[in-house]
């Protein structure tokens, strides 16, 4: 679905050229220290900042050749928290950017545990609640604008979707993302800070550092204790479990 050939930015903030593919139903986690270029890479993938070198294809067609409205049927972006200027109702805000049937909105609100907030003003919600509203909006855009001939559910880009969530909501959201990826055959890209979440739920992990991709592959390949200690400058205790489940990390005291 999404393919990169030596795509990158030459001007600052720069991204060194990188290759990669993302298939429908896959969840890709982009991790790395602060200022590694994660959000910049995400804005390249969304086409908001077109790549300056190499090529970036969606469905085999260069991203900058897509008409902006057609592209919106195929990929949605949930940026980092931005306060909406006016007091939209939750239900209205989720419907922005598409003409969803109300059944879809109701379902998404239910999926993200927002049903009781449907009539509330988004400005009165907490940070975590608002974050889930914005995620619901992104998914709603993809599902309601999906054409009947589309073979997959499109591309969902999320910038730190768990930054304001408690651990229960983090788990619920990541499980929900997996469920959407599977049910709608959706490709999902998440910028994540929590390595344990990336390790537990992602199919693919890209580790960025200073605008360069240091490693890519499945979580166990990428998230090795030595690499993480080196790049994040951190002391960790690593839990490698015998049942081959994904590695987990604890901060050393």
């Amino acid at each position: 679905m999404l393919t990169l050939h030596q795509a990158g930015f030459t001007t600052t903030p720069s991204i060194a050229p990188l290759d990669g593919t993302l298939r429908p139903g896959e969840l890709l986690a982009i991790v790395g220290p602060n200022g590694a270029g994660k959000s910049t890479l995400l804005s390249m993938l969304s086409g908001f900042r077109p790549c300056e070198q190499g090529e970036l294809h969606l469905d085999g067609k260069p991203l900058d050749e897509w008409p902006i409205t057609t592209l919106a049927n195929r990929r949605a972006l949930v940026a980092q928290q931005e306060l909406p200027g006016f007091d939209w109702q939750t239900f209205e805000l989720v419907s922005l950017g598409s003409n969803p049937c109300s059944a879809l909105v109701v379902e998404l609100l239910h999926d993200l545990d927002l049903t009781h907030l449907a009539k509330r003003s988004v400005l009165s919600l907490s940070g975590g609640e608002r974050q889930r509203v914005m995620i619901a909006r992104g998914v709603c855009q993809l599902l309601s604008r999906r054409s009947s001939t589309a073979k997959d559910g499109g591309l969902l880009l999320l910038d730190e979707p768990t930054s304001a969530l408690d651990i229960g909501q983090q788990q619920r959201l990541m499980r929900q993302l997996r469920a959407w990826a599977e049910r709608h055959c959706m490709a999902i890209v998440c910028v994540l800070h929590d390595l344990n979440l990336a390790s537990t739920y992602a199919d693919q992990v890209w580790l960025l550092h200073q605008g360069r991709r240091i490693a890519q592959g499945n979580p166990a390949q990428v998230l090795t204790p030595r690499r993480i200690e080196e790049i994040y400058q951190v002391n960790i205790n690593h839990i490698a479990r015998e049942d081959l489940s994904p590695p987990q990390f604890l901060l050393a005291p």
Binding site: G25, S43, S46, G47, F48, I68, T69, L71, A72, N73, R75, A76, L77, V78, A79, E82, P84, G85, F86, D87, W88, Q89, E92, S95, L96, G97, S98, N99, P100, C101, S102, A103, L104, V105, M134, R137, G138, Q141, L143, S144, R145, R146, S147, S148, A150, K151, D152, L157, E182, R183, H184, C185
Partner: protein, 346 residues
């Protein structure tokens, strides 16, 4: 694995009944206000007597040549100022944006004054020249303000610098106006002060007809942007991903507001706070969706200006209070109240 698209697409809009109810209610109120405005004035002519022929020749003349164009101009200017206020608030994603506050109106005013002083008496000094000058002035200010907003990104710092830029432009335009008044001849000075107070007195068919036409174009451009303005509220990156060409939207709204506000200023001088007051009150009532807010603001602005102008004509009759004075007296305290409420919320 691959599921077929399970959701039937259909248009979600506000419940039709509500949109219709609100807009037709406002239209009705506007018609009533127009009826009242048409019937009252120094010379008591009822529109009824004009049509059934019982009024005197003079009354009929006054009604057709003075009162009717004035009412129509009030509708157009009110709709334009409030509509552009609503659109600019959407564009800047900030409820404090307003053509007067950001200096658009005073920038247009300075250009028009400059035009009057430089070209008065010559062919270029005609009202059409003033229209063009007003448009140019508003456009210049709009571009400056936009440059500042762009450099600052979003957030509260941007709001502050926008308001400060507006203040600077207003001060500058005020000083420029002072200089012009200083160097102007007596005749020019008379024309300047007649025009500058913010009144609808100068309504003549010749100018009103053209203004109505151009303002309708600007209003139509704004109405067409309603859905895109909604999208822009998501933030630029997200809105882009949702299919919004923000550059095109901005260009259209900037051109429409500059055209409209420039025209209004060239015709009536600066009528303050209408663009702030009306959309803000309506947003509290109707919510922030522009598909309803924009047309409702236009109707509400027209309504408010027609009522205010009728009051201005009748309160101190036979003298006349400049209507700009009246709206500023109304809007100034409201703006202060808004600021205080915002500070408390922080």
């Amino acid at each position: 694995m691959i599921s077929s698209a399970p959701y039937v697409r259909h248009r979600y809009t506000l419940p039709l009944s509500r949109t219709t109810r609100v807009l037709s209610g406002l239209t009705l109120a506007l018609i009533i206000a127009l009826g009242w405005g048409a019937a009252s004035g120094t010379l008591g002519v009822s529109p009824w007597s004009v049509f059934n022929g019982s009024a005197s020749e003079l009354s009929v003349q006054v009604w057709w040549q003075l009162r009717l164009p004035r009412l129509l101009l009030g509708v157009a200017v009110g709709a334009m100022l409030a509509g552009s206020g609503a659109a600019m608030q959407g564009l800047f994603r900030n409820p404090l944006a307003d053509p007067t506050l950001l200096g658009l109106a005073s920038g247009a005013g300075l250009f028009v004054a400059l035009w009057i002083v430089l070209f008065q008496g010559s062919a270029a000094g005609s009202l059409y020249g003033q229209f063009a000058a007003g448009f140019l002035g508003a456009l210049c200010v709009c571009l400056v303000v936009f440059g500042i907003a762009k450099r600052q990104g979003g957030g509260s710092a941007a709001v502050m610098s926008l308001l400060l830029a507006g203040l600077a432009i207003n001060t500058l335009a005020g000083a420029g106006g002072g200089v012009l008044a200083f160097i102007a001849s007596d005749e020019q000075l008379r024309q300047l002060s007649l025009w500058g107070m913010g009144t609808l007195t100068n309504a003549l068919w010749r100018t009103t007809a053209l203004a109505l036409l151009l303002i309708s174009v600007a209003l139509w451009m704004l109405l067409r942007s309603a859905k895109e303005l909604d999208l822009l509220q998501l933030g630029e990156a997200t809105a882009h991903a949702a299919g919004l060409d923000a550059t095109r939207l901005k260009r259209r709204v900037v051109v429409a507001t500059s055209l409209g506000v420039g025209l209004c200023v060239a015709l009536t001088g600066v009528i303050g706070f209408l663009g702030l007051l009306v959309p803000h009150c309506l947003r509290l009532w109707l919510g922030p969706g522009h598909r309803l807010l924009l047309p409702a603001s236009m109707l509400g602005g027209a309504l408010l200006l027609v009522v205010a102008d009728t009051l201005a004509r009748t309160l101190g009759a036979p003298a006349e209070i400049p209507v700009g004075l009246l709206t500023s007296l109304l809007g100034g305290p409201y703006f202060l109240y808004l600021l205080m409420r915002r500070n408390r919320a922080c």
